[in-house]
Symmetry: C2
Subunit: 801 residues, 2 copies
Amino acid sequence: IFVISDSCHPQTIGVIRTRAEGFGIEVVVGKMHSFNWKEVQGQVCGILLQYPTTQGIIEDYENIITEAHHSGAKVIMSCDLLALTMLKPPGEMHADFAVGSSQRFGVPMGYGGPHAAFFATKDEYKRLMPGRIIGVSKDSQGKLAFRMAMQTREQHIRRDKATSNICTAQALLANMSAMYGIYHGPDGLKKIASRIHDIARVFQKAVQDLGYETSSPESFFDTVRVSCRSKEELQSVLKRLEESKINVRVLDEKSICLSFDETHTKTELDLLIRSFAGRDKGSDLQKIVESLPVPSAIQVRTSNFMTHPVFHSYRSEHELLRYMHRLQSKDVSLVHSMIPLGSCTMKLNATSEMIPISWPEFALPHPFAPKEQMKGYWEMFEELSESLVKITKLNKVSLQPNSGAQGEYTGLMVIREYHKSRKEGHRNVCIIPVSAHGTNPASAAMCGMRIVVVGCDEHGNINVKELEEKAEHYKDQLAALMVTYPSTHGVFEDGILDVVEIIHSRGGQVYMDGANMNAQVGICSPGDIGADVCHLNLHKTFCIPHGGGGPGMGPIAVASHLAPFLPSHPVIPPLHVDPKHCLGAVAAAPYGSSSILPISYMYIKMMGDEGLTRATKVAILNANYMAQRLSASYPILYRGKHGRVAHEFIIDLRPLKATSGVTEADVAKRLQDYGFHSPTMSFPVAGTLMVEPTESESKAELDRLCDALLMIREEIRDIENGKMDKEDNPLKNAPHTADVVSSDNWNRSYSRQLAAYPAEWTRTFKLWPSVSRIDDAYGDKNLVCTCPPLESYVEAEQRVA
Amino acid sequence: IFVISDSCHPQTIGVIRTRAEGFGIEVVVGKMHSFNWKEVQGQVCGILLQYPTTQGIIEDYENIITEAHHSGAKVIMSCDLLALTMLKPPGEMHADFAVGSSQRFGVPMGYGGPHAAFFATKDEYKRLMPGRIIGVSKDSQGKLAFRMAMQTREQHIRRDKATSNICTAQALLANMSAMYGIYHGPDGLKKIASRIHDIARVFQKAVQDLGYETSSPESFFDTVRVSCRSKEELQSVLKRLEESKINVRVLDEKSICLSFDETHTKTELDLLIRSFAGRDKGSDLQKIVESLPVPSAIQVRTSNFMTHPVFHSYRSEHELLRYMHRLQSKDVSLVHSMIPLGSCTMKLNATSEMIPISWPEFALPHPFAPKEQMKGYWEMFEELSESLVKITKLNKVSLQPNSGAQGEYTGLMVIREYHKSRKEGHRNVCIIPVSAHGTNPASAAMCGMRIVVVGCDEHGNINVKELEEKAEHYKDQLAALMVTYPSTHGVFEDGILDVVEIIHSRGGQVYMDGANMNAQVGICSPGDIGADVCHLNLHKTFCIPHGGGGPGMGPIAVASHLAPFLPSHPVIPPLHVDPKHCLGAVAAAPYGSSSILPISYMYIKMMGDEGLTRATKVAILNANYMAQRLSASYPILYRGKHGRVAHEFIIDLRPLKATSGVTEADVAKRLQDYGFHSPTMSFPVAGTLMVEPTESESKAELDRLCDALLMIREEIRDIENGKMDKEDNPLKNAPHTADVVSSDNWNRSYSRQLAAYPAEWTRTFKLWPSVSRIDDAYGDKNLVCTCPPLESYVEAEQRVA
Ligand SMILES: Cc1ncc(COP(=O)(O)O)c(C=O)c1O
Ligand SMILES: Cc1ncc(COP(=O)(O)O)c(C=O)c1O
Ligand SMILES: O=C([O-])O
């Protein structure tokens, strides 16, 4: 049993209910202050408290937490990050986990997202954390370097025990919020928080003076509950608020709830209070301000936070700008060169597609703003859904899932509901090819499915015979097949129709992983191959930029028999949702990260049907062109029947390791010296690189990458021939930083110039790597973020500043 | 006499009339086809033709040009750049000069600007060109490098013979237009042009079919003249156009003129034609398109253009983006470090100030759109003017001048009008201190003034005694004094009130150069010191970014007695203009570069009075802090009475040249190795550097620049001491590129690491110079742009591509 306090947000309760199902966890929503622990003794695994509550109340949770711990339950607190700058933090109340959204740290509401969440826990649970943890390591020169030290290992190691399937996350948004924190620092944040608290208190005092009943000023941070004397009074207040264009949350027939933030002005506050006063003259705000007592909240924060020097170093726009620029200039991006990451579809994110997301009409709305005020958004939802229906040749679309993996999860949950609705709820076997992306089994596991793996034949195709045997074996339990098309091996599998038929004829549903849709749009479709569900990574095929690891959007499209089960939402039901059958919410906002949908919308509208089809053709052509040019030097691991690849292809480096000792990692690092980002490494096959050029690259750029890889092949040949040493060579030592090649002591067996300028184009534009080869062994020993002592940062900052 | 064809734009005629006055050139506006050359034989210096004409007609000018040349007159053609992709070019018609705007190459109208103009001439006149010419040189490693080869020399050498005073120009806009050309290339441009021509022809055919009289399709490019049968008919067409929200140009009681561009859609064309049809059904456009004959314009272009490979290399958004990025990454900007350019005020250009300029409401309006449609703009003009009046403590502001120098010119012309209005038109002596910026005498010369120079005393102050003598000597001819305050020497001159009094008491007016207003705003003002006119560089004090050489805005503020003479405009008269007395137009748009005014407006509104004053104080504090830190190592050339500088200061390097051979240029170049842009070099005093930190920089950044300069001082000391060689040292060889410090042959007497990483912070973030020391001698021999043979570009491009 997992217990959720009834003072959590309804969307939080909704999402947890859905999520708990897959894991078979029972959810109870209750009043925590009067919770009867005796009754459920030993059965509660955890509880969720919201701090402050959904109605804005700062409750004292210490007793509850003690009780929960006594009963063996862990405690999660869902927190308002800004409130925590003033309030006693969850850790000091002995909560086990703190979670929440960092949206209010400088990220627009965006009608629901994207926003980054945060998740924090005690040291003792750190190894159970999902997601990725960045740790400190050093490079071959002993320089500080950061490196992924740990990631959701279930996806890679214990696939069927996965508790998380996150791949695309919210990196960009996390960075935005971090920059907000860096700019303001703890003192600035406290100042912002206390100004907001004061606005809320001024409002509370003013409406109290007008005779309304309110929450008491000691018990709230930014959110005030106001109760009217009668339904009629509330109605007339609401009418005046509407006239003043102010939205509030209605709690019940007599009460509403209002939140404040740092952007609110005196004029707005005045307008608001006048709506309560029901007359033109407002209150004398100045007088109220002067009469405000010193705040005496029950649980004031006394401890420090954000003590790292980075939160104390950049206090002006120029300083922050330059800090961001310094960070940015360590990255290689599409601004520099093509990024051939297979399976990632690093295509053009056109400026004209990006512009609308900063329009206030898209950026600012609250996710629960009345639908009538959001006509533009809803028109876009409708049109975008229609386009995606047309592209997939399926029947209906849900725009709720926030990533491909969340789409997988949603799609599988929809399949689960479908089976249940037909009284086949026992169907729980999910067949997944061995080459699948790690998110596939993780998603299946999160839906409570049992994973059955099928292998591939020597051409990289699904082993149809094995599939048929397993499908037959599990035919009574068969829930679904997850299949990627074209396959993760970069090939349009010939047998796909047979594969689908094998599953369908045994009562299973077919989930198509849409990561490779860039090879399908306009020329074939999930509908064509007979898939029942698929997700679309809008951040791949449909031009949302990857943001260094998110945001993304993973809408799903389903065939008509699955349409009734698409997800709903407890506050704002999405379009065409069937309230009788629907799955609950899979995300806190009805349309997920709504505010980035305009990017895909613009792309689809600007390209038109013809343009989309042409893009697919060019993407496939580009991949085949590159495969062809490279094939004399590197084996192309898999090809289709006619010797062609799809929109990406795998080059096999394993033979070279045997002859030269050079690994895929060496080639990937050496590409940095040539100014390129590496292709996808060792996915889906260890010891290989997977190249996806996309349609956005010119022939000149494709040739440049081919040239780089061919020149590297010659470097490898020199090792094979013994012309270069097996260890002391530019591949093993790659990448070469500017420090290294300009050092006063160079004792390598190859020249500085070969190290730094292996290709002519690097003379015109040289992209210097910022660190040398990273010490993986050292990094592995620092699995979780081990921060160096603060003093070393202070010194470093002083040197920079 | 200068003759302007009456088929030029009215604003062009207006600006030339004003401009000609200062030079004492008589302007005649005439019909060129029937021009009586006999009457003025030998007296006409030049003529201006517009191509196509203001009403869009492509005239055959060849006979006129021949006639003009026979009469000894030069021919200028004002051209539409896009039309020239289809039409016989001016050069082939033997015109001497071609000029025009490059706005339509991808730059928004912006209610008048900013836009870049172009100016082209025959090889034989190249040395007479105003402005700056960039020539090809090479660096010390023999690498290709560009360098300013020639600039308006009058400002530096023949100050009082100046024909141009341009300093801040339109660099950014020129780059924007260049990128438009680079992206589309000649074929793309021709395609755009012919599409526009076709739209115009479809329109012309449709309204002709409706019974209207129009210009003939062979005679126009994009602009069609339409005549109605009666005044009433025109009125009803205009009414319908207004209802359709379409603005047109009204020529006379019965005719209007319409222009088309590549953004126009079929829907818009249809709406337009329906306004002429006076009914809901439009014409069958498809049918018209099909029936269009092949265009048979009188003068079709047959010659090639844009043959340079750069116009053929970047045909996709990624390619262009990367090209722009490669160019950008050669520059040091405020994103990297403070830019201490004295007299330039390189302060923060805050993002929030910049955002509004891309709003379509600011970016898109046509400069002559009806005023009623432009209420927001006019409100901003009014409020911004009021703020500037308040800041200057003068009486009225003109927002027309596009730069500081254009403000100087306008201010002096206003003074000239003032003297004329008092029957003192003979006053034409302008006194200018020797330390003045080159634009001051150039502006005075362009107003037909005689320049009298006064010297400075040993503290850098105006030699008041000399001033008084000269003022007394010229008292009957004295028109004005131009004075910079605080002075270009970075000091608040004590004697300023005396100086002003000396001029006023002799009937002269005082022009204050406002380049240094960043030291005044909120603490003193031109009004306080008794100035009669001043300009304000909005691109310095008021946050418009410099754009690498423009755009800028140079509004002038005047005392009340000068207010009646502020410039007007022939099409849209600016606010509060006195039609009886006003000067004509000084720029083609009534409010100059209107669309960048929101930047200054935002700055002033966001800062408020208090913020503005605080900024000035911090700017002065920062300069004094730096001067203090540096003074032990470098002499500060001038200080005020109390030992303080204003918002900038000069460090004197001449003594070091004597002891070490190191010049100001060596220090400037060496600063690049430290990651800094040089301070202003040798202005206003040769052999010095002038540092202006501005209020936007943190103490940490000021210290970093001080540290760099102090470390350089130690390097110089090593030369003085003989520890380093006089030639083979990091100063003489600066800047050091990455190629150089990583070369396989290093034979300098100092280390690579000292060359590249002289300061610790360069390890955290190294800004690599893109070229080594430039060969000035070689560059001087290539005074004007001598392009290398095209083949060498092709090779270079292939290498890059
Ligand atoms: C084949 C495949 N499936 C699923 C995913 C997961 O998508 P997301 O990262 O949007 O969660 C990816 C992501 O890279 C993928 O390549
Ligand atoms: C002292 C001084 N006066 C006048 C000007 C000319 O201003 P603008 O460049 O805007 O034409 C400058 C420009 O730098 C200047 O420094
Ligand atoms: O010329 C100057 O820009 O100062």
